[in-house]
């Protein structure tokens, strides 16, 4: 919807409050004008990636100068295994970007993907991924977000069932007035599919985290085993987390569950760590890093996992002094 608005320049095409899926991420309200499309890009450089990240395809996406629309496709041939690191890099200023990814996985293909998205605090940024899977595919994704004026990473996976597996994880660490939205839709189309999701977020300052996760199990998709968990920590009274984990079930032989918790940092754990000698700030950082770190720990590729942990540790560091 954002791409359409950017292409046409028509502000009324921006998604906003009146769209159920965008009630908490109001782009219409955030943008008084739609910036013109401009193919120019800002310089890369917000991340330094190890030159030899073994066996990983690293793709870097530079921020536009004004409005930017990009469409990227990836095909993993039958039986192949790919590891992808998508770095959606920050630029400066009030740019507006729409990135669309289309992934197609052949029979028995597998893809592990890490998305790290950084944006300027004034930017509006949306990245949407659609994944088509065949039988016996394995798709695993981890999205790490740090927010923007409005930032949304949306992922749709059509799961054919069979022996296929899907993991859709995410983490967000937000400070200042940043806003990050992680939205997922997993559609179980066939029998015996499995999906797992773990999304964890921490908000400080006046930041706002949004999580929407829908599991759909269509008629005939019996034997589906789908689980989703979202856990949020709010470190400040001006911060906010909005979440909607949804189950939409049209088959009866299923085991679906979601859990959603939102709360403050566990005071007991904080005291425990402090009683062992960790100063408060360090104890907080340790607990926050551990909390979101569990998302990174689920990444199979060791190189990707390290990148994720580094990213999260750096984010947790930025929280110091802003917690309360």
């Amino acid at each position: 919807m954002l791409a359409e608005a950017l292409r046409s320049g028509d502000r009324t095409k921006l998604p906003g409050r009146r769209h159920e899926g965008w009630r908490w991420t109001d782009l219409f309200g955030a943008l008084t004008t739609v910036p013109p499309l401009n193919p120019e890009r800002q310089a890369l450089g917000s991340w330094s990636v190890p030159i030899a990240l073994d066996g990983v395809v690293v793709r870097r996406f530079a921020a536009p100068i004004q409005g930017g629309v990009e469409h990227v496709t990836l095909e993993v041939p039958a039986g192949d295994h790919r590891v992808v690191l998508d770095l959606i890099e920050a630029g400066q200023g009030r740019y507006v970007r729409d990135l669309a990814f289309d992934f197609t996985l052949g029979v028995g293909a597998s893809l592990e993907r890490l998305v790290m998205i950084a944006d300027d605090a004034d930017a509006v940024s949306v990245a949407t991924t659609h994944v088509q899977m065949q039988a016996r595919c394995d798709f695993a994704q981890t999205v790490l977000a740090s927010g923007a004026r409005r930032q949304r990473v949306e992922t749709h996976v059509d799961h054919p069932g069979g022996a296929g597996r899907v993991r859709l994880d995410g983490a967000y660490l937000l400070a200042g007035a940043r806003h990050a939205d992680q939205t997922t839709v997993v559609r179980h189309l066939g029998r015996d599919g499995e999906s797992r999701q773990l999304v964890r977020g921490v908000v400080a300052g006046a930041a706002r985290g949004v999580f929407q996760g829908r599991i759909e199990v269509l008629q005939g998709a019996d034997g589906t085993d789908a689980r989703l968990a979202h856990n949020g920590l709010i470190l400040s009274d001006r911060a906010e987390i909005d979440s909607k984990p949804e189950l939409e079930i049209y088959a009866d032989d299923v085991a679906c569950a979601h859990g959603n918790t939102i709360g403050a940092l566990d005071e007991d754990a904080l005291f425990y760590a402090m009683s062992r000698g960790l100063p408060e700030a360090e104890a907080r950082r340790l607990l926050i890093t551990a909390f979101v770190g569990e998302v990174a720990e689920r990444i199979r590729h060791p190189g990707l996992r390290d990148q994720a942990l580094i990213f999260l540790a750096a984010q947790a560091e930025a929280f110091d002094g802003e917690g309360r």
Partner: protein
């Protein structure tokens, strides 16, 4: 080592400790026994600096320094260690990472340098072996999925690694079967030292069969109401707490 004088502590609206006084000389092991509700856990949490435990009167000093003016981590750096009755689970933080971070934070606060990784690992392996712990457990999330006995062992492991001056053992025997109790007690006894004091807080005498105290104090209704040698514990075991009155 530890000198507590006329300590009054409120938790919410209720006054739990009502003028508690207690001294533990350096190198000694003292037991504090008392019925449920006497204020045993309040004493240990107050000494460790948990928020919500409001000291309204009295003092508590460690080697002449005012403990009450410090926050929990500062007290730890001074050498106060509390073995929790219910140790916390911290998913995502391996025990080794946790202990190393704590040890280094304490050393930093005392103006000492960081411990090197090989030195730390060597010490951790040795202590784990002493406590008959599977070293792999130390690589998993702290206390996550551990049994009651494993958690208590993990507390003693941390105590060994952090080498405190004053160790407070809060109901360390609760939830332990006899074998685990032996291992934990041996671990504690191995840590007895001339420059270290211990405060063993317990409801039952059975722990004191394994960790023999120099002195025994009876805590009832927020005060120390009797003190004596190890024989006092046996007397309590025999006669119960009735003669010290009901808890507040």
């Amino acid at each position: 080592m530890l000198k507590i004088d006329n300590l009054h502590v409120r938790v919410g609206e209720a006054e739990i400790l009502k003028g508690l006084s207690l001294s533990v000389p350096t190198g000694e092991v003292h037991a504090v026994m008392g019925p449920n509700g006497a204020g045993k856990s309040t004493l240990s949490y107050t000494l460790a600096g948990r928020s919500g435990y409001e000291v309204t009167d009295g003092t508590a000093q460690l080697l002449g320094d005012d403990l009450l003016a410090l926050n929990a981590s500062e007290r730890a750096a001074k050498g106060v260690f509390l073995s929790f009755q219910y140790p916390l689970e911290i998913p995502g933080v391996p025990a080794l990472t946790f202990v190393r971070a704590a040890l280094n934070a304490q050393r930093k606060a005392r103006g000492e340098g960081e411990i090197s990784a090989p030195e730390f690992l060597k010490k951790a392996k040795a202590e784990a072996a002493n406590l008959k712990m599977d070293f792999e457990m130390l690589r998993r999330g702290l206390n996550v999925g551990f049994s009651g006995g494993e958690k208590k062992r993990m507390e003693i492991f941390q105590m060994a690694m952090l080498a405190p001056r004053l160790a407070i053992l809060d109901e360390t025997d609760s939830g332990l079967d006899i074998d685990a109790l032996k291992i934990v007690s041996e671990g504690v006894n191995a840590l007895r030292a001339a420059d270290r004091s211990m405060l063993v807080i317990t409801h039952y005498q059975r722990l004191l069969d394994h960790i023999r105290p120099d002195r025994v104090h009876v805590l009832a209704a927020g005060r120390i109401v009797a003190s004596g040698g190890p024989e006092l514990a046996l007397e309590l075991e025999r006669d119960g707490y009735d003669k010290y009155g009901k808890a507040a």
